[in-house]
Symmetry: C2
Subunit: 305 residues, 2 copies
């Protein structure tokens, strides 16, 4: 695989950035990767485990001479980072990110970027329930989708970033900002919010203990808890920064839920049956799209589940 | 493994019953297994694939001489089955079931059972998104929980059923009726309802297509869809028959959801952060309880996901 960017700077060194580093090395698409994290402990850990070729004590130092700068910090921190690095950005460099929302990121970052710098926001839709510099691994993005939201950037810079993410294992797709935030509200943000709520409710009950919930969790609850274990900082910032789309989908959700609640209260069996039948088709669609397996238990070994 | 029941009758031949048959054979805990299903097509399929040692054209014939009768029909069908088999039940036989709710099952079945028959309702907490006589497999219950809800049955009959389910691979636990329905509302029924709702909402949107939802579903949505593909008949009957516990948990859930919605609308970041941090602990509890793995993606191979 040939080099796509000579020097890549990763600002923020959590799960995504660390995985990017290992995937970049695996693919050989950069000659050098620099890194910066706000916390000294994180920088020390990164140096200790060989994460990045060089870890700097300021974002500006990390970004100097970089051809690609990727902001891997929580959305709420992006404006400050953009201000810090703007004076140092090389002309012709590409600035990108990995945030789960795009409107707010663009609003936070774009005003600070100088002329001659390409801004190509991106969103690799991948993650695990772990955080931090030691949580990354090269395969995280394999066969995942990375949404590319070019913001006034020319086609060459956009295509270059697409090639980069494809080399890291992802499938890419271009999307405009508003549509991105809508899609993600549906497929990611609201599911996470709902999972958080369900786990919170289960935790609060008096007559059913946490131990019982945990013990019998394979019954359906477990699927919720995986996504409810995601990084709290990241998710707080997602909901603070994708407010409109989130509230819209949430409103729809509660409408549907109340309709089903009424069907339950009044014993409307047919209505429920029709509803449940319809949702099965969507599941089949997902399996056919190759996004999952219908092997029992997602194909996970039965040993401990 | 020694024989626990000489003859077992399975009434209803779907996923659970068919899996029980294969698990019974694997364990060698019965000398003979008879079967009955209401649909002729199902009975033909069962005979064709060797499901059960003998398949009869009526429940009464299947139950004759049986030491254990397991009702594997939807909860809504149980009363009629109980009436049909009551005249034929052998004195000293055990009648059990596999329903996901217990209060309604007991109300439906107990009144019809004659003196001298042990009634030990049970609930194996296992399943896949598939249905029908061909969907069963012996390993379905391995390391799963089977809740035992003895209803006036003596300890010998109860212990015998527990040994049976353990031989089929399950862990067993005794629980009273009301508590069973509460626990299951939390760990299973409401998660399923919520998953159904989320999938239904996603299907209904105008600006985000089904194809996009399906395509980007690994982002969190996928975890919902697995449980939203469950059997519509079974689930309709669950909600019709566990109304009180369901509505109670649903009420709690909507309270929490509205509280989070308000936090989003008003930008209460700290409140969200605290809430999300708390839920992470529950997830950790599940992993420690051995009910799941924290390998990325539940340890599923990355090839197609």
């Amino acid at each position: 695989m040939s080099v796509i960017y000579n020097r890549v700077a990763l600002i923020g060194l959590g799960l995504i950035a660390s995985s990017m580093f290992w995937a970049i090395k695996r693919a050989g698409v950069a000659n050098e990767v620099t890194g910066y994290a706000r916390s000294e402990a994180t920088r020390d850990t990164a140096r200790r485990i060989g994460l990045c070729d060089a870890v700097y004590d300021s974002a500006a130092e990390a970004v100097e001479g970089a051809d690609l700068v990727v902001l891997c910090v929580p959305v709420g921190a992006m404006a400050q980072v953009a201000k810090d690095i703007a004076p140092v950005l090389k002309r012709g460099a590409t600035v990108s990110d990995v945030g789960s929302v795009k409107g707010a990121v663009i609003d936070a970052v774009a005003p600070h970027l100088p002329e001659g710098v390409h801004f190509v926001p991106a969103h690799p839709m991948a993650g695990t329930e772990h955080s931090g510099p030691e949580s990354g691994f090269a395969e995280l993005f394999d066969n995942r989708w990375c949404l590319i939201v070019p913001h006034g950037a020319d086609d060459t810079a956009t295509a270059q970033l697409e090639a980069f993410w494809q080399a890291l294992g992802a499938n890419t797709e271009r999307m405009d900002v508003a549509h991105h935030d809508q899609v993600c509200a549906v497929v990611s943000h609201i599911p996470h919010l709902i999972a958080y709520t369900m786990v919170g409710v289960a935790d609060d009950l008096n007559r059913v203990s946490d131990q019982e919930v945990i013990k019998f969790s394979a019954a359906g609850f477990r699927d919720f808890t995986r996504i409810a274990a995601s990084d709290p900082t990241m998710w707080r910032d997602v909901f603070l920064n994708n407010k409109d789309a989130t509230l819209e989908i949430l409103g729809r959700f509660t409408e549907e839920l109340f309709a089903l609640q009424r069907a339950i209260r009044t014993g409307e069996g047919d209505q429920m049956f029709d509803y449940f039948t319809r949702t099965r088709a969507i599941r089949r669609g997902i399996i056919e799209a190759g996004q999952d397996t219908d092997a029992p238990n997602f194909g996970r070994a039965n040993a401990k589940s």
